[in-house]
């Protein structure tokens, strides 16, 4: 990579009020301000958003895909965290 190549940014767009920002892709820009402008031009040409976040890709910390099992498995055997774990007679309303 040559020195003048721009860093990568991840782009998140809020489609409308009431919704979360959702990841839509990435782009290259020299700095945050340019990243926002590029994100506007690239990902919201047709009113797809009311708000944009840009985050440098190298600032994202991700879970390790190789450790997927040890990382997520602890929640697998805790069935009592789900409402369907509890038997309630059908005759009881609104529960």
């Amino acid at each position: 990579m040559t020195s003048h190549e721009w860093p990568l940014f991840e782009v998140f767009v809020r489609a409308k009020r009431g919704l979360n920002h959702v990841h839509v892709g990435s782009l290259r820009a020299a700095d945050h301000e340019m990243a926002l402008h590029h994100a506007r031009d690239l990902y919201t040409r047709r009113n797809e958003g009311v708000s944009i976040w840009v985050v440098r890709s190298d600032a994202v910390v991700a879970s390790d895909p190789a450790a997927k099992e040890s990382f997520f498995e602890p929640s697998g055997d805790k069935v009592y965290r789900h409402p369907t774990h509890y038997a309630i007679p059908d005759s009881v309303p609104h529960i």
Partner: protein, 305 residues
């Protein structure tokens, strides 16, 4: 258990492969090649129509064409972004394009001779692209499939503006109608070539289908495109330049002639009418823009951003 058991299982369950997943080197290479080639096609594809922006007949047509060419740039960037999730480097991909080490769609190596070409590109070339791309929305590589969904939404505007442009010209003078027919005559066969060589001569198809990168063969998609285009041509009042084109009731499809595959080979390997010009302009844009990229990077380096 094979080293890629999880990968194979995900493919078998019709699940998407995501960037951090382990994947066979062949899959990664195939995806990078296909996505890069697709991205290059969008970027080079700005040129044939871009040639008409300053010569569009009305302000409305000019605004439409600008929006369309801007979309092509956007599509290229979505795709470079998808390629980067596989470890490819955007600058490196551009260099490979400029140095002729990676290809782009052969269709963009033909010239746009009249404004009717803008309409026919929208109708036939973007129509063929839609046929190719709709199944790619279910392609096994997640970032590629998601980019294709965005692209397909926008391609629909491209095709409709082209068809509407042609309908307008067909309501015009005999000379305008002749321009449309001439453009159809020139673009029909290259459009059929966009689906690639016949299945029997497409060595990569079987592996790409097994990996669920591709969902249909070249010949299946070509047939679908012909079947779609025939009634559209009739409604427009133009003739498709194929004497063998006729409805086959037994097959429930149109029979049609074969494109000149030797021509496709020639154009892909650099012998098309516009190959040199397309790459020359891409190289020029890259070198002309270098100082802007460097200045922006220098500005960012001294700022606090």
């Amino acid at each position: 258990m094979s080293a890629f058991a999880e990968f194979e299982a995900a493919i078998a369950r019709d699940q998407r492969i995501e960037p951090a997943d382990e994947m066979p080197e062949g899959y990664r290479k195939t995806m990078i090649r296909q996505i890069a080639q697709h991205a290059h096609s969008e970027i080079i594809g700005m040129q044939p129509e871009g040639d008409w922006i300053t010569r569009a007949p009305t302000l409305r047509r000019k605004a439409i064409l600008l929006a369309k060419v801007q979309d092509e740039a956007g599509h290229g960037l979505y795709l470079y972004s998808a390629a980067e999730t596989l470890g490819a480097d955007r600058g490196d991909l551009t260099r490979r394009l400029i140095e002729g080490r990676q290809k782009y769609s052969s269709i963009f190596n033909y010239p746009t001779r009249s404004f009717a070409d803008v309409g026919v590109i929208g109708w036939l070339v973007d129509g063929a692209a839609i046929c190719n791309q709709v199944p790619l929305c279910r392609s096994s590589y997640g970032p590629y499939a998601r980019a294709m969904i965005r692209i397909c939404k926008e391609e629909s505007f491209h095709q409709r503006q082209g068809y509407e442009l042609l309908m307008t010209m067909m309501r015009g003078t005999a000379e305008q109608q002749a321009m449309v027919q001439d453009a159809v005559d020139r673009w029909w066969w290259p459009s059929l070539m966009m689906f690639g060589p016949p299945d029997a001569e497409s060595p990569n198809t079987a592996q790409s289908m097994a990996w669920k990168i591709k969902r249909h063969t070249n010949d299946e998609l070509r047939q679908r495109f012909v079947d779609m285009s025939v009634p559209q041509a009739a409604a427009l009042g133009v003739t498709l330049p194929d004497p063998d084109l006729r409805w086959n009731a037994d097959r429930g499809h149109h029979d049609f002639g074969q494109p000149d595959w030797a021509e496709l080979k020639r154009v892909i390997t650099g012998g098309g009418p516009m190959n040199e010009e397309r790459i020359r302009r891409r190289r020029e844009a890259d070198s002309d823009g270098a100082w802007v990229r460097e200045a922006a990077a220098a500005h960012a380096a001294k700022g606090t951003s």
